[in-house]
């Protein structure tokens, strides 16, 4: 075969390799983005559970402390804000607002020992704290995915494909200061066996 054919074949081969390689990166980015969205829906489920507990809680407290109208309205408003919130940033503020108003509600409850001792109130409180723990775990999983995705679309070579696809950074849900720190774990172990 003549030299020209070899050159053409090599170039074609390189182009094919490049294509395969970028396909791999593309798939990785898509998978990462879908996973992150899935993780987000995991948070939504828990937030919805939290919101759905509120009416019952308000009704129960009302039975003992009917004149504390202001607090009930605040809590109910915070609940509907949380239900209508869409993205991580909106949900973050709505959820924090609900936490704050619930804090006020529980401060009110402190004045009613009978209410505190009521079994259905305690059940609701248990359930609420269970949901809160689950939100914390779901948030951890989501934020870890977000961090991974955001690092990926900003590093070479993924950044090239991400730019072409117009992929944007995800927002964190209730970001905390040490989010980046948590990704790093010291693996140093004493050497040898």
């Amino acid at each position: 075969m003549s030299l020209e054919i070899w050159v053409v074949l090599t170039v074609l081969g390189l182009i094919a390799l490049l294509g395969l390689w970028s396909m791999g990166i593309y798939n990785r980015l898509v998978r990462s983005s879908v996973q992150t969205k899935e993780a987000w829906s995991g948070i939504r489920v828990q937030l919805r559970r939290r919101a759905s507990l509120i009416p019952n809680l308000v009704e129960t407290v009302k039975g003992y402390a009917s004149h504390e109208k202001g607090v009930f309205e605040e809590v109910t408003r915070a609940r509907s804000t949380l239900q209508n919130a869409s993205g991580p940033a909106d949900s973050t503020s709505a959820n924090q607002m609900l936490t704050a108003t619930l804090g006020r509600l529980f401060a009110v409850v402190e004045n009613y020992p009978e209410l505190k001792a009521a079994s259905n109130f305690q059940d609701l409180q248990d359930e609420l704290s269970d949901v809160e723990v689950k939100i914390a775990y779901a948030r951890q999983f989501f934020n870890r995915n977000v961090a991974q995705f955001n690092i990926r679309i900003r590093s070479i070579p993924d950044i090239l494909i991400a730019r072409m696809l117009g992929l944007e950074r995800f927002e964190f849900f209730e970001e905390d200061e040490d989010a980046d720190e948590e990704l790093r774990v010291s693996f140093s172990t004493s050497s040898g066996e």
């Binding site: 828990q46 689950k134 991974q148 790093r184 774990v185 010291s186 066996e193």
Partner: protein, 388 residues
């Protein structure tokens, strides 16, 4: 095995990738080492086919041996393929049976269920099945080929001895192993090792009896052991007589290989496979510990749990040698097995605790207190349980 000892923090995802690469290499070597062993066991199972083949060779050595060996190997491989497929499908059931675990009703242990549920959300995993081994030992393992059908197995002792945060730590360790594929690999390795150690599983009890029991039994056992020796030595001696009649070099090579197959399958393959399995499983414990610390955000939880389990005797549970690597801590008696070196399935527990301590949060006093609690548990609850 060498472990890099850098003090710079490493991104966990890089560590997972390097762990995968190492594991893949070790697995490749493992496959190469274990093929002849499986071939031998398959030949042995296919004895009906192998026997006429042998007769054909004996009666007419000048005939071509290669096709005969080829046909019998083909049948053996087919047979083995079916066996492996079946074992693969039932591997987690096999493992569960080997440890005597029973399914746990979620209402029995609400704390455990809630802990697992929460950590699953944090790890993005489906809820595994739960099972329990009714034993005073404090240990835990998981098995299964996919996260969807994985089973988490705890011992009664673990639930009794650990507090909530410690339980969280060990459960998180297991869940991260389910998530990163170690459990799948470990389950496959467990089944493969069970097959490879099969001759020993048969011989060991016989040998024990030959040394201890009455005379009549002893003779029977000796005859049985003699059969094994004859099978191994005989194939070589017998082969040496026949090999001079074979002229074709390829056939000569094939015949020689077949000749040494029993020897290899019984005395060389299993120890090497055992060593490789240990190397694979030793690699992954540090990684899973770190993952657990990341998931619970509380390194002292697992560190204290390990300090409790570390108390001599606490982790010990009757188990098969082929599945020791699945447990979070080596479940064998400390005296009977090497805890360091090539045959150790787990890194020294002290090093694991130290690595966790370096992630922060735990003080030497906390760990000492946990170890004292573990000793107290062993001396009171566990010994009481073992008396009954």
């Amino acid at each position: 095995m060498e472990r890099s000892s850098t003090d710079a923090p490493i991104l966990i995802y890089d560590r997972i990738d390097s762990n995968r690469r190492k594991t893949r290499w070790l697995l490749a070597v493992f496959v190469i080492v274990s093929i002849p062993v499986f071939l031998f066991i398959a030949h042995y199972i296919a004895g009906v086919v192998a026997m006429p083949m042998f007769m054909a060779v004996v009666s007419s050595p000048e005939n071509a041996i290669a096709p005969i060996i080829g046909v019998s190997t083909g049948i053996a491989v087919l047979l083995l393929g079916v066996t492996i497929e079946l074992l693969y499908r039932y591997s987690s059931r096999l493992v569960l049976r080997l440890t005597g675990a029973r399914p746990l009703d979620p209402e029995e242990e609400p704390t455990l269920v809630r802990t697992v549920e929460n950590l699953c959300i944090g790890a993005g995993l489906p809820m595994p099945n739960l099972a329990i081994v009714e034993s005073g030992a404090t240990n835990i393992y998981s098995t299964g080929l996919e996260p969807d059908n994985a089973t988490l197995v705890v011992t009664r002792g673990l639930l009794e001895a650990l507090d909530r945060r410690e339980l969280e730590g060990v459960v998180a360790q297991e869940l991260s192993q389910i998530g990163n594929g170690d459990v799948r690999l470990g389950t496959v390795l467990a089944t493969v090792m069970t097959i490879m150690l099969l001759p020993y599983l048969i011989v060991a009890p016989v040998l024990k009896r030959a040394l201890r029991t009455s005379r009549g039994c002893r003779i029977g056992c000796c005859v049985f052991l003699l059969y094994f020796v004859v099978m191994v030595a005989g194939s070589v001696v017998f082969g040496l007589f026949l090999i001079s009649d074979i002229s074709d070099p390829t056939e000569r090579l094939l015949f020689t290989l077949t000749m040494f197959l029993p020897l290899y399958a019984l005395f060389i393959g299993p120890p090497i496979a055992y060593m490789l399995r240990s190397a694979v499983s030793r690699e992954w414990e540090f990684l899973a510990d770190a993952d657990a610390a990341l998931l619970t955000r509380y390194p002292p939880g697992l560190a204290q749990a390990l300090a409790k389990i570390r108390v001599p005797g606490n982790a010990v549970i009757a188990t098969q040698p082929s599945i020791t690597h699945l447990w979070i801590v080596d479940p064998r008696k400390p005296k009977s097995t090497p805890r360091t070196g090539l045959f150790a399935t787990h890194p020294p527990i002290r090093e694991r605790i130290e690595a966790l301590s370096r992630m922060g949060g735990s003080t030497p006093e906390m760990l000492e207190a946990a170890e004292a609690d573990g000793r107290l548990y062993r001396d009171t609850v566990a010994s009481e349980r073992n008396k009954n």
